[in-house]
Amino acid sequence: MFRCIGAMALLAIALSAATLQAAAATDPLLHKPAPSFVRNDLNHQRVDLAAYRGRVVLLSFWATWCAPCQIEMPRFVAWQSRYGSDGLQIVGVSMDDDDAPVIALTRKRKVNYPIVMGDEELGTLYGGILGLPVTYLIDRNGTIIAKFKGETSLSDLETAIQKALRGR
């Protein structure tokens, strides 16, 4: 009887683990160098992805009209404050069609990391950003180590950041 219950419990744990795994999507860019780009951010400061080598980068593709992105943004602001001195750099890429709503929202939310405007070229560089949000985690060597798509578990994402900051 208890063997049966134990087997059921193991099955339940395996199923829930599989569900969590599904949230962290696979991608051809995974374990490859992050495609480099240089853009000016909303404050007209130069953002060169390659210049962040040595830091862990959270590259967030988002938009003002994307509801799940609005849930992520305050957490990203908190993480930039909390983990910035440990080597985390968050970079936002807005896939909005124009920058006016982006400037308004990021000011309102007091975003403390650079935001650049995305376009077809930048989306294609990352394999096509055809659904939001999409977040890449890039290690200190500039390699993409994880991709998160859609409504992601933010605690899973934070755990992945902490591991990357520890260099594992």
């Binding site: 419990a9 376009d119 077809e120 294609t124 859609g150």
Partner: protein, 165 residues
């Protein structure tokens, strides 16, 4: 001893079930609560990706007018062949652009709207665009059901797409 273990196991399963059910119920509720959300579109107005792909084949009798009602940046990266960009349904400018596009069309023109920017019940665009066309009196408007996004549910399933403006 054995009785306590059974009780602990049942409690564990019950807690796990509740933890699983809360986000599901929240998602269902948030979709139903917003009348402009994609969830407000009647099921009879939805069309699945494979069905739309069939309607767009070269030998199809009457091809619908396909309109993308999301972001231009996404349209530029990939869109359904023959689709026209109408503007984001979540903005006044997008709705105005949609109205201009359909102004000269007969009310029984077959049309399919799509976006795929976000998970279905989070899409801000298809609901308002569908409602506007419905209010204007168009009778053959369908909305492409993309559960997750355009990348996963159209391109990822091997349906055709083209780049460009």
């Amino acid at each position: 001893m054995q009785g306590k273990q059974i009780v602990r196991f049942i409690a564990f399963v019950a807690v796990a079930a509740v933890l699983y059910a809360i986000p599901q119920a929240r998602a269902q509720f948030s979709g139903a609560a917003n009348s402009a959300s994609a969830s407000s579109i009647p099921a009879s107005a939805l069309i699945q990706p494979d069905a739309l792909n069939g309607l767009l084949k070269p030998d199809a009798k009457e091809k619908p007018l396909v309109l993308q009602v999301g972001s231009h940046v996404m349209f530029d990266q990939a869109h359904i062949p023959g689709a026209q960009y109408a503007g984001p349904g979540s903005t006044a400018a997008g709705i105005q652009s949609l109205e201009s596009l359909v102004a000269s069309l007969p009310k029984d023109k077959s049309m399919v709207l799509y976006c795929g920017c976000c998970p279905w019940n989070r899409c801000p665009n298809v609901g308002p665009a569908y409602r506007r066309l419905h209010d204007l009196g168009f009778t053959k408007v369908k909305v492409l059901y993309l559960a997750n996004n355009f990348g996963d549910d159209w391109l990822g399933k091997g349906f055709p797409a083209v780049k460009g403006k």
